[in-house]
Structures are given as C-alpha cells and as structure tokens.
Subunit: 292 residues, 2 copies
C-alpha cells in the first residue's frame, strides 16, 4: 500500500508538463522515454485519476491540482537536504540573491565578503535560500507599512524586515497629474501602466492595493529599475517605484492606499562565518523608512 506520493514521479510529472512532451522530459531528466511513460502511468494508477491528456500533452483538472502541490513539495525536499548539509559545510563562496530594488546604498555596503550577487524575484529568492543555492536573500516588494511581504513558506527560514521606503508614481513631464503633491492609486487604475514583472509586478500591486485595474501599456521584461523609470518618463505608461530608484521622470508620492516598498532579509539558521556576519551587518541597523 503506497501511502506517500513518490517525489520522483512528481518531478517527472512536473517536467513533462513543463516540456509538454514525454520524450523531451525523458531527455531532460536523463531517462528513456518508456521510463517516463511508466512513471506517469504509475502516478496515475497510484492516485487513481488521469493526470495528463496525451496528444496534446496537457494536465487534466486533477493534474493541475497536483501541479500546485508539486512545486512547493519538491522545493521543501531540496530545502531539507540543504538545511542538513549546512550543518557540516565549511565556508564556501558566499552567494546572495537580491530583488531588483533591494539594493540601496546601505544594504550594498553591508555585503562584504559576498562573492556572487544574483537578481531574483521574491519567490525565487526564497527558493534559492531554501535549497541552499544562495546563503542569503534580500527579497523586496510592495506591502502595507510594517506588514511582512507574503513570502512563500519553504521551511524554517528566518525572515526580518530590513528596510521600508516611500513609493512614488513616475509620470512623464507634462502629464496632467504631474503637478500634484500626491496621488491616490484608485485615480490611476484606469491609466496605462508599465508592466515590469521582474521589477515591480502589477499583480502583486493589485493584490496589496486590493485593486482590479492597472491596465498594461508596455511590458518590460528586464530587471533594471532605471529602465522602468525611463519608460515611464517617456510616456509608455506609469510605474510605481521606491523613491530612490525613480531616477527620472516626474515623481509624485503615493498617498493612498498606504503602501511602502519593503525589503526583507531571508536566511536559514547559519553557522558562524561570513554569511552570519553579513546578516548581522544588515540587521544591526533598525528598520527605518528612509525617504528618498
């Protein structure tokens, strides 16, 4: 009697869905195609439900359900291994994952001894720390003042806020609202926005502000905040950035809803060493809302 879903099957399932093909998944995982075929069959037999349609290869309803579990599950599995491994690991090159807007002058100064800096979205940054690929992460995103970012739960991680900063709306020169002293987001819900999912995802903004609008004007797929600001200044759509990252355009403070840009430090339990030093440096200063 199999009570526990086999994670190998789960991983194969995820890969098949991602690749959209049994054979491609087999290649990627280093199996042969029949092995994948059998694994999927085994998983479906175990759960008693078809998980994939073949030709085209797509998840069924049940398969989509399973997918929602599979990601976090596989992450935690890697996290467990990484967490135990940290116990007996000696010093190694220090890797930090940071959100695109997480590095201010203050935080950058604290990163002494860091070998590699990797830019990653909030969820990805947490995953990197949990799985041991990064030692620390500085996740960033919009949040209500002194509220935590809703970071995904990937195991016993320490999460502390390290910075909060005022958000400003970036407008092009001459925009009708450019003269205002402050703006309400509701008034801008119908305007066109620059959707920069790797800088300041509109979805998250909508969730935090409890808003439905924010139509997309131009989409920017890079993660340089300066580019987002320039696009906004050039009139391709509005954008919302922490004051210090809005390097051009007309910057008008956001009045309502009360949302700030928050940076949180994420790390596992660390043995004494350079990583722990950086954590201390980052957390020694009290969390303060630094304007501009």
């Amino acid at each position: 009697m199999l009570m526990l879903v086999d994670p190998h099957l789960l991983r194969t399932f995820v890969t098949v869905v991602a690749e959209g093909s049994f054979s491609a998944a087999a290649d990627r995982l280093g199996y042969t195609q029949p092995a994948v075929s059998q694994q999927i069959a085994a998983l479906e037999a175990d759960l008693g439900v078809p998980l994939l349609t073949r030709r085209p290869v797509r998840p069924t309803r049940a398969g989509e359900r399973l997918l929602e579990h599979a990601g976090p599950l596989l992450l935690r599995l890697r996290a467990a291994r990484a967490d135990v491994a940290r116990m007996s690991a000696r010093p190694r090159p220090l890797t930090v994952a940071a959100g695109p807007l997480a590095l201010s002058a203050g935080t950058a100064a604290a990163l002494s001894g860091v070998t590699t800096l990797r830019i990653a979205g909030a969820a990805e940054a947490v995953a990197l720390v949990a799985s041991g690929e990064a030692d620390l992460a500085l996740a960033d995103g919009p949040a209500a003042p002194s509220d935590p970012l809703g970071l995904p739960d990937a195991g016993p991680l320490t999460i502390v806020g390290v910075r909060e900063e005022e958000l400003v709306v970036v407008l092009p020169e001459g925009h009708p609202l450019a003269g205002r002293a402050g703006l309400r987001l509701d008034d801008l819900a119908d305007a066109l926005w620059v959707d920069a999912p790797e800088v300041m995802p509109l979805d998250r903004l909508r969730a935090v502000a409890r808003l439905d609008g924010l139509r997309t004007g131009m989409r920017y797929e890079g993660h340089d905040p300066a580019v987002a600001a320039r696009l906004a200044a050039a009139g391709h759509g509005l954008t919302l950035l922490p004051a210090s990252a809005a390097v051009c355009g007309v910057r008008v403070p956001l009045l309502a809803p009360r949302i700030v840009h928050r940076v949180e430090l994420v790390h596992a339990a660390l043995p004494p060493g350079p990583a722990a030093e950086v954590v201390r440096a980052l957390t020694s200063a009290p969390l303060s809302a630094s304007a501009s």
Copy 2:
C-alpha cells in the same frame, strides 16, 4: 544519484524519534526492526550526517533540523493526494474541525449537514483539512484586528476570516482590578495566568502581544472554555477569552494591545455539494466584530 530525499525514510525517521526506539517504530510502521535500522542508515548515508544517537535514541543537531522539515513535508504529501482525490470523490459524511472557541451561535447555525465535528487546535485543524480528513475547519485564535491568524502553509487552501470578537480578561470577584472598565495586558504580565493550551495558548498570546511575561498559575489541559472561565473566576489565574465564552467571573475588556479573537474558515477547493453549501452559509454574512 539520489537528489530527492525519500519520504519513506523521512516517515520512518520521524516515527523513530517519536517512539524513541527503532523496534517500537518498526512495530508501529509494520516493518521489522532491521528494516528500520537499514532505512535510518540509508537516510544518514544519503545526507552524509548522523541523524540519531543510539542508546539512547535521540536526534542529533542535524536530525532536529531534518525533523523541522519532515512534518510539513509529509503533511503536504498527504495533502497532494487528498487534493487530487477530492476531484473524483462523491459526497460523503461531512466532517468539520473547529477550534474550541470557534463555535458561536452564528457559526453553529451554518453547519447544516455536518456529520462530525472535531475540536482541534489551529495547526491541527489546517492539517486535517489539507490531508482530507476534514472538509472544513474553523480555526481560531488571538490576532490584531483584521489581521489574519498566522496559519501554517499546507498547500493551496482558501482561508477567509468569518468572525472577530472582543477579548475580555476574566478575573475572580473581588480582585483588585475587578472594578476597572478596561485593562492593559502589560499591567497583567506579572500576574498568574491559567495556561489552557487547547483553549487559548499563552505562547500565541505572547507572540501576538509581543510580551514576555504571563506567568503560569494553573494549567488546564481540556478544551472547554467554560472550565477555563470557572478556573479564572475561582482565582487560579487570569484568563483571556472572547466575551461570549467568558461565562462567569468578572469580565473586563482588553484595551491594549489591540487584540481580538478571530475565527477563520479553512477549506480546499470544493466541488459543489454539502460542504460548499456550508462554506457559502459561513461566508455570506460579512465579517463583523460582534460584541458579547
């Protein structure tokens, strides 16, 4: 190359630690003792670290680390199976898990068609829903007004607040503070409290109130709020209860910190049926702070 920790080994490991013995764990799991021995050895070989001390059988530091992951991991594994199973399950006896203080007159009325009602702490209630053993849960606990309870993440569950109620301190008649119109928790940190972990855990209260005190007078291990109130009224220690549950003693509203008793409905995605009906009944009324 094993990249993924084998959940069977994890389950065995958890059981061995819980039982404090290889042979007892073997019994419990339906294995023989050598099987357990080999599984633990395999897990230790896989992770490259000793996880248990033998004689006495106790987790090492690394083992404790692994334990923190194991629980949530195994829960999610069961949750994944349950979630997929729900897709193809036809109606069955409706089971609801509820916190000891979650059932007011209003919520009780909404539970039509429910076969079994089970009292469980917040974390346990979530686990029951995730693993499919319960269809719905009403988790309860102290929280800042309109802040969510910090329920553990056990997968894609829907969590909505359904009630918030004022908290009162229960004092014995004639207590020096019994005449007050309201009380601050800081002033009571040094008093003796009734620790009723299954009704209103002091730990959670300390966490929410950011307080260190609250000395334990008497410990009550049942989950009847009326008993907790009676113990407080009899002078065995103070207690904090939602106004409607404080059936005796002198009841003084809590003024600071601003904490309310919150009830949240937890459920997975439900196919239409009696369970979905109950959810609708519970969520149709707007969340309102009902005094007394």
